[in-house]
């Protein structure tokens, strides 16, 4: 039996709904995790990374001396 025949008779159409739910869950998970108030400090720090290049030769706060 060829693979194409097996696939044709496997009745896979229900998998679309499963995929929809999985994708939606993944989206909701990323959205919750990203917009949670507790993450704001880290987000602010990350957003300032482009401005860190010129001052790279100065010791940064937190660097061990």
């Amino acid at each position: 039996m060829k693979l194409s025949e097996i696939m044709s008779h496997a009745g896979l159409s229900g998998y679309a709904e499963v995929a929809l739910v999985l994708f939606l869950l993944a989206f909701v998970a990323v959205a919750i995790a990203t917009f949670r108030p507790g993450a704001s400090r880290a987000m602010d720090e990350a957003s300032r990374l482009p401005f860190d290049d010129e001052s790279a030769n100065l010791p940064r706060p937190g660097d061990p001396r």
Partner: protein, 732 residues
Amino acid sequence: MNEGRLDSFRYDDAIVRKFLVATFVWGLVGMLAGLLIGLQLAFPGLNFDVPWLSFGRLRPLHTNAVIFAFAGNAIFTGVYYSTQRLLKARMFSDLLSKIHFWGWQAIIVAAAVTLPLGFTQAKEYAELEWPIDIAITVIWVVFAVNLFGTIARRRERHLYVAIWFYIASVVTVAVLHIFNNLSLPVFPFKSYSIYAGVQDAFMQWWYGHNAVAFFLTTPFLGLMYYFMPKAIGRPVYSYRLSILHFWTIVFLYIWAGPHHLHYTALPEWASTTGMVFSIMLWMPSWGGMINGLLTLRGAWHRVAEDPILKFFVVAVTAYGMATFEGPMLSVKSVNALAHYTDWIIAHVHTGALGWNGFLTFGMIYWLLPRLFQTKLHSTRMAEVHFWLATFGMILYATSIYSAGLTQGLMWRAFDETGRLQFPDFVETTMKLMPMYWGRAIGGTLYVAGMLVFGWNILRTWQARPKVYDEPVIQAAPLPRAFHEPKNAGYAPGHAIPTSAWSRFTGLGWHRRWEGLPLLFTVMVIVAVVVASLFEILPTFLIRSNVPTIASVKPYTPLELAGRDLYIREGCFNCHSQMIRPLRHETERYGEYSKPGEFVYDHPFLWGSRRIGPDLAREGGKYPDLWHVRHMENPRALVPQSIMPGYAHMLRDPLDFPAIQNRVDAMAMLGVPYGDAVRDAPGAARAQAKEIGRRIVEQGGQAGLEDREIVAMVAYLQRLGTDIRKPAKVAVR
């Protein structure tokens, strides 16, 4: 671990300067090619009856030049500049950087030579033949090694969102390029796609749409997220939105390709899937656009005096307009009107001239004083460039939008007796002429802006110092043994999560991914590949998607040779071979196209724009002599035609011995040639003699039976005739 030792290093800006100059040079070349082919449509005399200057051969040169040469070099300019600074590391290898630069330019030159010579795979934005495809793969791997090597040696643990966009672009473009270009070489510069018909079309538009997504969108979004904050001097409006923007774009874009094939022979479930995902793309696209514009909060007053910000504002606005329009065009009922018309050309140019062009200009104006370590030669000239490009773009877009709507509406117009109101195709072409001139003027303004831009670059370069100052940067290395703790919060100082839920919402896991670029890359590949497989595989594996038709047979050897000439001349750039099941189309062209009709088409030639009429049912519509005369000089038969002449096909001898290789290759791809495999040139000569005889009989010139034109006539007369034949033997 870390005893306060600081690494000293320098950024490699020489490579950025090289890419910047290449961006301008190829941009000008690509846009001039575009201007020429735009003018050819308004004034066909500009094809000069020279084969390598005809529209069909130059149109892919224009698209490849502006996408891969102009936008490509612009991407590399920005990536090489920003990556080093965001990661606090020099590029992994100066040698790889140089190989990448010179290799990419060599590929562009190879494209500029082979495309006008007619070497093409006939797939949009993937026209380049297999040796060049291999070179692209090698150079792309060099780029990837260089980028990932730099990431591995970085001195900043967190990967800024721009870097994510770069990673996604690099890996996805690699996957797309390889799978769409799988082909069987026949000659040094000729190959046949291993896929046929519906499946080939599906692969091509999966590739084609994602070339827009992962070559013209995600890398430029990365550039936007770096260069806009730099130019404005404040961080992006919402970093959170940028994370969401990234993951939704990567997840959704890869599904959207089938919207290029609405109402074609593609299975309907596939085109509906493509449409639904395209509509969902509204969300991240507009999220990204709003994020870009709101980055200007509190700095809007500076837009008035700073041309760099002006360029960025228009770029992001154009991104918003193009990504509003894209999902709208993916809705089937809108697509039924817009597909095959200039509306699509207008849509593409809003994105290309506005988003890619303006973002590149803004980025380069910002980079010029920094890279050449002097003042920008003239801010006023930058202003002039901005207004020339803006008015040029507006004139281009309005002209060509009206052209698209006009022609689309004329095609579908019925009169009160229920017949086509404009049955003569060329009538709809004539209507577009004023708009084509409008486009040419708009394009000229845009190119004029490029010249002002070039002058500004040249004068700034001339004012460079004798020796560039290369400041030594110092940064602490990342401790090798460091692992992001499993249970950590997102950043140091955050509460240590206690439950599984707070561990999840603490985003420590995302932080771990970013700290492990390899894992991050794997996740991106999974998102892209899984989506691609689930969408594409069913058409290969489930039989009902491509029902076969018993009377459809392979092309004869002569017809196959003719088909390869059709490909060489780029006929598919102006003629579709796909009649949609819409009443006005079946009235105009005949029975709608079925998936089973294309099972031997390696590659598919459905086309995407009808500058001329559809040819899917061309066979038998006109006598052989009509085609000979029409190919020799279209205006001898249709005075208003804008088609280039192909008189050289009546002069140039047909290479009969080579037909054997063509047939052998097709047989190897599974096309059931049977006995024809043994003596393809003989069979071709016999058919050619018959056609030559018919041409003389119809009053044409003698002696054409060994010229290219007979193969072309054979192919055109075969098109779409199989389903009218009775089925004698069922194809397996």
